[in-house]
C-alpha cells in the first residue's frame, strides 16, 4: 500500500515536468493561436482587434506568467477553456473519453486474443510450418502502418463486403452497435500489439519449456496440456504482462490514427484538431490526461506483475 501511495505521489512531479515541456514546445513551434482563430477574414482584421483577442486569451502576458497562471488553475481542477469552441477543456475530454476507452480496451482484448494463442502455438511447435506462418503474419502486423491497415480494412470489410460499418462509433445505438463499430478499429489498433505479444509469448514460452522444472513435470507423467498451461505459461506470463502494460500507451497514441481513419470521436482525434488549431489549453489538458493514463497503467502493470510473480516485492 505504501508503495502505491509513493508511486501515486510521483505522478505530480512527472505531470508537472510534462506540462513544462509541452508548454515550451507549443510556444516554440511556429503558429499563432490567434491567427488560427481568424478565419477567411484573417488578412483584413486590424491589428487592434487581433491584440484585443490576444489580450482576452491572456496570450499578451510574459510566458512565465502565463505558465504560472495556468498551473495555478490546474491545481484547482480547472483546465481552462478551448480557444476555438470556448467550452471547457474538461467537457471536451468527457465527450470523447468513453470512445477512446472502448477502443483501447477492445484493442488490448484483440491483441491478447490473437497474440497469446499464436505465440503459444508457435512455441509448442517451433520451426514447423505453423510457426513460420505466424511469424510471417506477425511481421506484417508489426511493419504495416496502422493508417494503411485501417484504410485496407475499411475498403474490404466495410466498402466491399459491407459486414461492418464504415464510420462512427455507434454511440446512441446500444451496446451491439458499439461493438459492431469497434470490430475493425480494435483489430487494426491491436494488430501491432498482437504481433509483439505473439513474438514475446513465443520466446518466453520457449525459454520456460527448456527449464528443468518442465522436464520434471513431464517425467511426473503430467499431460502436455497441463505442463504447457499450468507450468510453462504461468512463468512465461511475466514478461508478457510487462509488455502488455506498456502496450496500453501504444494503443493510446495509436488511437490518433485509428480514430481519424474510422471517423470515430475520441481523445486522439481531439488531440489532432487541437494541435492543428494551436488550441493551447486543449493540447495541454489532453497531455495531462494522456500522461496520467499512461502513468497509472504502468502502476497497474507493476502491481499485477507483483501479484503473479512471488519474487517481485513492492515493499
Amino acid at each position: 500500500m505504501r508503495y502505491v501511495v509513493r508511486r501515486l505521489l510521483f505522478l505530480f512531479p512527472t505531470l508537472f515536468g510534462m506540462l513544462v515541456v509541452v508548454f515550451m514546445l507549443l510556444h516554440i513551434t511556429p503558429g499563432d493561436p490567434v491567427e488560427m482563430l481568424l478565419d477567411t477574414d484573417r488578412e483584413f482584421i486590424p491589428q487592434e482587434q487581433i491584440d484585443a483577442i490576444r489580450k482576452d486569451l491572456g496570450l499578451d502576458r510574459p510566458l512565465h506568467e502565463q505558465f504560472i497562471r495556468y498551473v495555478g488553475k490546474v491545481i484547482q481542477g480547472d483546465l481552462g477553456n478551448s480557444y476555438r469552441s470556448k467550452r471547457p477543456v474538461l467537457e471536451h475530454v468527457k465527450l470523447n473519453m468513453v470512445q477512446t476507452a472502448h477502443l483501447a480496451l477492445a484493442g488490448i482484448f484483440m491483441s491478447i486474443l490473437i497474440g497469446i494463442p499464436a505465440g503459444i502455438i508457435s512455441a509448442v511447435k517451433p520451426n514447423t510450418i505453423i510457426d513460420y506462418v505466424t511469424l510471417t503474419i506477425s511481421m506484417i502486423g508489426l511493419c504495416a502502418p496502422t493508417f494503411w491497415l485501417g484504410i485496407l480494412a475499411l475498403y474490404v470489410f466495410a466498402f466491399q463486403l459491407k459486414v461492418f460499418p464504415m464510420m462512427g462509433d455507434g454511440t446512441g445505438g446500444g451496446p451491439l452497435a458499439i461493438l459492431r463499430h469497434l470490430a475493425l478499429p480494435a483489430t487494426v489498433i491491436g494488430a501491432h500489439s498482437a504481433a509483439l505479444l505473439g513474438r514475446l509469448t513465443r520466446s518466453s514460452m520457449l525459454d520456460a519449456l527448456n527449464q528443468d522444472y518442465i522436464r520434471t513435470a513431464h517425467s511426473k507423467g503430467l499431460s502436455s496440456r497441463v505442463v504447457v498451461v499450468r507450468h510453462a505459461l504461468r512463468n512465461a506470463a511475466i514478461p508478457v504482462t510487462a509488455a502488455a502494460g506498456t502496450m496500453f500507451a501504444y494503443l493510446l497514441t495509436g488511437s490518433v490514427v485509428v480514430e481519424m481513419v474510422f471517423s470515430r470521436k475520441g481523445l486522439g482525434w481531439l488531440m489532432v484538431t487541437a494541435i492543428n488549431g494551436r488550441d493551447f489549453p486543449l493540447v495541454q489538458g489532453l497531455i495531462l490526461v494522456f500522461g496520467s493514463i499512461i502513468i497509472l497503467s504502468n502502476l497497474v502493470t507493476d502491481l499485477v506483475i507483483g501479484a503473479i510473480d512471488p519474487r517481485v516485492s513492492h515493499d
Binding site: 499563432d32 488560427m36 481568424l38 488578412e43 470556448k86 468513453v98 466495410a158 455507434g170 446512441g172 445505438g173
Partner: protein
C-alpha cells in the same frame, strides 16, 4: 496475503472502470441521431413511393463544428451551417457573384452619394424556437455587436465602413457609411459575420449559444456537438417556405479517402473534395457520382507569391522569367484532373466585377525565360525555397513547377509546413515564395492583396510595391460610385499588376464538390464555405 488483496483491488478497479464506461454509453442523453449503420441502402423493397417520406441529406466534412455564432465562427463547418441557420439582410442572387437578391430586406434605397443605405425589411419573419418577431432592432443589434470592440469577434471586417445604424421604424433601418462603398451590399451578402442574430437568445443562452443558436433561416439546429456533428431540421417558421430537404446532417470524416468511400457506398450524399487523388477516384466512380467544379464560378486565384523585397525577386525580369518558364495551361489540366483547362492571366477571377482579358499575357517560352534570367544577371539560375502546406493541389502543382523551373536553371526547394506555421510566416512576410489562393467574392477585396499599404501584417503576400498612381487608384476604386468609372480603374490596375507580375498566377480555383447523382439543385455559388442546403433537393 497482501498480494492477493492488491490483485483483487486492481481487478475491482478495472471492473469498475469498465462498468462505468458501459453505463455511460448505455444511457445516451437523447438519441436524436440515428445510429450510423444502414449497411445496405434501404432503398430497394421496403420503401414504397410514400410522398410523406422525409428527405435527409448527409454531408461529410473533415473537421467538427466549433461555434455557430456569426461573431465567433471559425472554419468551414461553422460557416456552411451558419448560412442555413441565419438570414442576411441581402443575399447573393443564386449563381451570381456580382448581384444581390432580397433576404430579410425586401428592397432598399441608396442615397446618390453612396453613403446612406435604407433597408425596408420583411414584416413576416419569425425567430426560431419562439423568440418572437424579427424587427429593425435586430439588424441594429447584430451589426452594433460586431462593431463593438468588446465582442472580440474574429471576423466581419466589411462592416467596419459603417458609421451609424438607425432604426427608422419597426421595419426600416438606415445605415450610414463612413465612405462610399459601392460593393457594400455584395460584401454583407458574402460575410457570415453580417448575419442577423437575436439579442434575447444570445443573452439568455450565454456560453451555450455556440451550440444552440437561434436564427431566422431555413434550418434550425436540432443537435450540435463541440468539435463534432451538426444536425439541422427544416424550420417551421421560415418565411421563404419549407426547403425541399427536411433534415441535413453533417458528419465528421477526417480522412477524405474514407469520405470518398462513404459517398460511393451511399452513406453520405455530398462532400467537399480537396485532394487530386480523390478527384480522380470520384471521376472514375460511375454515373452515381457527380463531381462539380466549374472554374467559371471561382472567386479565387491560385498563385505563387514571390517575395518582391528579396533577391532575386526584386527584379521584374526574374519574375517574368519564372512565369514564362511554366506551361501553366498544362499545369492546370494535369493538376486538376482536367477540371480546370486554362491558366489565370488576370489576378481578378472572371466571375467578378470588371474582370478583363486585356492584360499582359505570359506564354510558355523557356528560351525567353532563360534570356530574361541572363539579362537580370542569373545566367546559371539560382536556388530558392517555397513554403507551402502539403494539402490539396499544392504538392502536385509544386512538383510540376519544380520540373519546369529546373529547365531554366532555377532550383526550387519545397518546404512543407502545417497551416499554423504557414499563417505565421505569411503574417510576418518571412519567406522567399509562399502559396495561397485568396478567395474573395468582391473584386475590391481581391485587389487588397496587392495594395501598397497592405504589407505584413496584411494580405499583400508579395510585398508588392505598385507605382504610386496605381496605389492611389487601388484606394480610389473602393469609393468610386460610378460603376463604369470604377470598372475602368480596376482594368487599369489589372494591367499594371500583370505587367509587374508580383506573383506567378496559376489558375482560378474552383471549389470542388462531389455528390450522389440524386442530389439536385446545387448552384455553384461562392464556393463550399457557403453551401446553401435549402436550394438542394434529393430526387431518387
Amino acid at each position: 496475503m497482501s498480494k492477493r488483496f492488491v490483485l483483487i483491488s486492481v481487478l475491482l478497479i478495472v471492473g469498475m472502470l469498465v462498468s462505468g464506461c458501459a453505463q455511460k454509453t448505455a444511457a445516451p442523453p437523447a438519441p436524436t441521431t440515428a445510429p450510423a449503420q444502414p449497411t445496405t441502402a434501404p432503398a430497394q423493397p421496403t420503401v414504397a413511393p410514400t410522398p410523406a417520406q422525409p428527405k435527409k441529406l448527409v454531408w461529410g466534412v473533415a473537421m467538427g463544428t466549433n461555434c455557430l455564432d456569426p461573431a465567433y465562427q471559425t472554419g468551414l463547418p461553422d460557416s456552411n451551417n451558419l448560412v442555413n441557420i441565419y438570414s442576411a439582410v441581402v443575399k447573393h442572387k443564386p449563381g451570381s457573384l456580382t448581384e444581390v437578391a432580397p433576404d430579410l430586406a425586401e428592397r432598399w434605397d441608396v442615397s446618390p452619394d453612396g453613403l446612406v443605405y435604407t433597408f425596408y425589411l420583411r414584416s413576416d419573419v419569425k425567430w426560431q424556437y419562439g423568440y418572437g418577431d424579427f424587427t429593425a432592432e435586430d439588424v441594429k443589434y447584430s451589426w452594433d455587436r460586431m462593431l463593438n470592440p468588446d465582442t472580440k469577434t474574429t471576423g466581419a471586417t466589411v462592416l467596419k465602413v459603417i458609421n451609424s445604424i438607425e432604426v427608422v421604424d419597426k421595419y426600416t433601418v438606415r445605415v450610414t457609411l463612413k465612405v462610399p462603398t459601392p460593393p457594400f451590399l455584395i460584401n454583407i451578402a458574402n460575410t457570415g459575420g453580417a448575419l442577423i442574430v437575436n439579442k434575447k437568445a444570445i443573452e439568455e443562452r450565454g456560453t451555450d449559444y455556440c451550440l444552440k443558436p437561434v436564427g431566422t433561416g431555413p434550418y434550425q439546429v436540432v443537435k450540435a456537438e463541440t468539435n463534432g456533428t451538426v444536425v439541422l431540421a427544416a424550420s417551421p417558421d421560415y418565411f421563404g417556405g419549407k426547403p425541399a430537404i427536411d433534415e441535413v446532417e453533417m458528419r465528421v470524416i477526417p480522412e477524405e479517402s474514407v469520405a470518398v468511400m462513404a459517398l460511393k457506398a451511399g452513406e453520405i450524399d455530398f462532400m467537399i473534395v480537396r485532394e487530386p487523388a480523390n478527384i480522380a477516384a470520384l471521376f472514375k466512380a460511375g454515373p452515381d457520382i457527380v463531381v462539380n467544379g466549374d472554374p467559371q464560378s471561382s472567386c479565387s486565384t491560385y498563385a505563387l507569391w514571390l517575395n518582391n523585397t528579396r533577391k532575386p525577386f526584386d527584379d521584374v525580369r526574374v519574375r517574368r522569367a519564372l512565369t514564362h518558364a511554366i506551361d501553366r495551361d498544362t499545369l492546370a489540366r494535369e493538376a486538376t484532373e482536367g477540371l480546370v483547362q486554362r491558366r489565370a492571366d488576370s489576378p481578378v477571377p472572371p466571375a467578378l466585377f470588371a474582370y478583363t482579358e486585356d492584360v499582359t499575357k505570359y506564354e510558355y517560352d523557356p528560351a525567353k525565360a532563360k534570356a530574361l534570367l541572363a539579362e537580370a544577371g542569373y545566367p546559371n539560375g539560382f536556388k530558392i525555397t517555397v513554403d507551402s502546406m502539403n494539402t490539396a493541389f499544392n504538392p502536385i502543382m509544386l512538383t510540376i513547377v519544380q520540373q519546369y523551373w529546373k529547365q531554366v536553371g532555377v532550383d526550387l526547394e519545397i518546404n512543407y509546413l502545417d497551416r499554423a506555421a504557414i499563417r505565421q510566416h505569411q503574417a510576418e512576410g518571412n519567406y522567399d515564395i509562399t502559396v495561397s489562393n485568396p478567395t474573395r467574392a468582391e473584386v475590391g477585396l481581391i485587389l487588397d492583396y496587392y495594395k501598397c499599404q497592405n504589407f505584413p501584417p496584411g494580405p499583400n503576400f508579395s510585398l508588392y510595391k505598385a507605382p504610386d498612381p496605381i496605389c492611389d487608384l487601388m484606394n480610389a476604386q473602393a469609393t468610386e460610385n460610378d460603376p463604369q468609372k470604377r470598372a475602368e480603374m480596376i482594368k487599369q490596375i489589372q494591367q499594371q499588376i500583370t505587367n509587374d507580375v508580383p506573383n506567378v498566377l496559376l489558375w482560378y480555383v474552383a471549389e470542388i464538390t462531389a455528390a450522389r447523382s440524386s442530389v439536385k439543385g446545387m448552384i455553384p455559388n461562392l464556393g463550399s464555405w457557403q453551401t446553401r442546403f435549402y436550394l438542394f433537393d434529393i430526387v431518387k
